[in-house]
């Protein structure tokens, strides 16, 4: 059992509160990703778990034991830093064995463990090199190796892939997922990249300005975003969010788009004239007749396998539409737009999802 529990955890820097009450239970062997825009407090939260930042208010429990005042090395955690933070003056083996050396593990046993970890990460040939002689990807592995050697209960990652180039990032993503399976370890992973979050996580915690916006599995977040922030943050291309107001006529409820068009929506418990936001994923929109709205194609982006069509539905409001067609329309065309009503998201005046 290696669960991590946060109970209304807060963090202040002086008078500024950067973590504003986070509750979370990370289950044993779970891969949890903290995601959010830069500066939202992800690193701070992770560092509080690690013990590198003091917890101002609230409790941190690991395996049920309160850890607030336990020193970082005694919490049974290992951390991989964004900059890798390798010890530049030590060899790869020295880096990986440093914690064991400090713990007084005999040299023979230490070497064995370093070797085992090196094997997992294919670092065996590099053990005698210094970090300066390694490529970015290799350094990344050493940083992970340093964590593995300690056999921690929980792995912490702070944007570990952000210093790698795009191709390597995809490769490491797969390897990390595999590592998670092989090591059977609990992992907490911080990133600002929702693709990383979606592809790797068992559960995602979306953070904004120190507040948890939503916690859930990747598909939960995709299918049932709790508010406009999560809706816009998760999924690529971004969900279309269109401002509208509620109006009822003949027992039917409509949304009056800011651009002037009118869409029928299911009943909502809001007064006439209340401001709402409609959320439609680009992949939920179709360019087909019988549509509820129409607009003028203003830009087309060809990605090969898919095509993004940006349609102006009035007052400069652009809708992104994703389609498999390579030539769905031409710029300047007036096109009809339709969608599956079951994939329509509605958010109230406060930005929270309705129903």
């Amino acid at each position: 059992m290696s669960g991590v529990e946060l109970k209304s955890v807060r963090k202040n820097y002086g008078a500024v509160e950067v973590i504003k009450g986070v509750d979370l239970t990370v289950r044993d062997r779970e891969f949890v990703v903290f995601v959010g825009p830069s500066g939202c407090g992800k690193s701070t939260l992770l560092r509080m778990i690690a013990g590198l930042e003091e917890i101002t208010v609230g409790d941190l429990l690991i395996d049920g034991a309160r850890m607030n005042d336990v020193s970082p090395d005694a919490r049974g955690l290992a951390m991989v830093f964004q900059s890798y933070a390798l010890y530049p003056h030590m060899t790869v083996a020295g880096n990986m064995g440093f914690a064991l050396m400090l713990a007084g593990v005999p040299k023979a046993e230490r070497d064995l463990k370093v070797r085992q970890a090196a094997k997992i990460l294919q670092l065996e040939a590099l053990l005698d090199r210094k970090p300066g002689q390694l490529s970015g990807g290799q350094r990344q592995r050493v940083a992970i190796g340093r964590a593995i050697v300690r056999e921690p209960k929980v792995f912490l990652f702070d944007e570990p892939l952000s210093n790698l180039d795009a191709a390597l990032r995809v490769q490491m993503r797969v390897e990390l997922a595999k590592l998670h399976r092989d090591l059977n370890a609990t992992m907490i992973y911080v990133t600002h990249d929702q693709v990383e979050a979606m592809t790797m996580a068992d559960r995602i915690l979306v953070l904004r300005a120190g507040i948890v916006e939503q916690v859930g599995s990747p598909l939960d977040l995709y299918n049932k975003p709790a508010n406009t922030f999560v809706a816009g943050f998760i999924g690529s291309p971004k969900m279309n969010l269109v401002g509208a107001s509620v109006s009822r006529r003949d027992g039917q409820t409509f949304a009056f788009l800011d651009g002037g068009q009118r869409l029928p929506i299911g009943d909502v418990s809001l007064k006439d004239g209340a401001g709402i936001t409609l959320g439609l994923r680009p992949e939920a929109l179709l360019l087909s007749a019988g549509g509820a709205a129409r607009g003028e194609v203003s830009v087309i982006e060809h990605l090969g396998g898919e095509t993004l069509v940006y349609v102006d539905i009035g007052k400069g409001q652009l809708l992104t539409i994703k389609t498999g067609d390579q030539q769905p329309a031409r710029v300047g065309d007036i096109v009809p737009i339709s969608f599956d009503p079951s994939r329509l998201h509605l958010f109230g005046p406060d930005g929270q999802a309705l129903n």
């Binding site: 690690a50 013990g51 590198l52 020193s71 970082p72 090395d73 955690l77 290992a78 951390m79 830093f81 964004q82 900059s83 933070a85 390798l86 010890y87 530049p88 003056h89 440093f98 914690a99 400090l102 713990a103 340093r146 300690r150």
Partner: protein
Amino acid sequence: MVKNKRALVIRTVLGWLIAFIMAFPVFWMTLAAFKTEMDAYASPPLLVFTPTLENFAEMNQRVDYVRHAWNSVLVALGSTFLGILIAAPAAYVMAFHPTKRTRSIMLWMLSTKFMPAVGVLVPMYLMLVWLDLLDTRTALITITLLSNLPLVVWMLYSYFKEVPAEILEAGRMDGAGPLKQLRYLLVPLATPGISSTALLCIILSWNESFWCINVTAVDSGTLALAIASFSNPEGYFWAKLSAASLASVAPILIFGWVTQRQLVRGLTFGAVK
């Protein structure tokens, strides 16, 4: 290109001319050290003469060079080593675990450097008498160490700041407490900075004159004291003075020249990154 060439020539001439002027007093002293007293006072001054080592022998007789030199070495190394030993943990805390007060403490430390030594000479002297430490190396090492300490803390602070905090945090996660972080991570990573700090410290204490003139004598006096005794002698003494000067300056001058690359970093006091 032609313009560049002319600039190069001007630079070379000017650069060497100024170098020559700046180094000339030392050069002239070196020559005089090997002259006889007669030659030293000759007019016009002699550039060519028969060198003699007599002055060094006489100088040694008069001021016991070896003893003073040994004191200089001990005081310089002792105060430097202890100073760094004391300053490093403080600089570590200031660089990596600063508090609200850190800034004020650092400025206060520096402000103690503005306290003129002469202002506190009397009580220092009396305290040394009470403690029976007058004219001891212990006293001189302690005083030198304390008067250099603010600079050492500042310099180490600025070098430690260059070490990424994440590396020390990784060390912390790996189980290294502050002292182990210092020993295994910070000291190896800041070695260039630490050694330039040490070099500057050694040079400052080698040349420290005020305290050594006022609180030491034959037992623990350094070369600076030995030289001061030449300020008002009688008769012809330039050659002997030069020999003594050369003998006191040469060790540190050569040391400084050899280590100048390291030293220069130290001198910048962290102002240049």
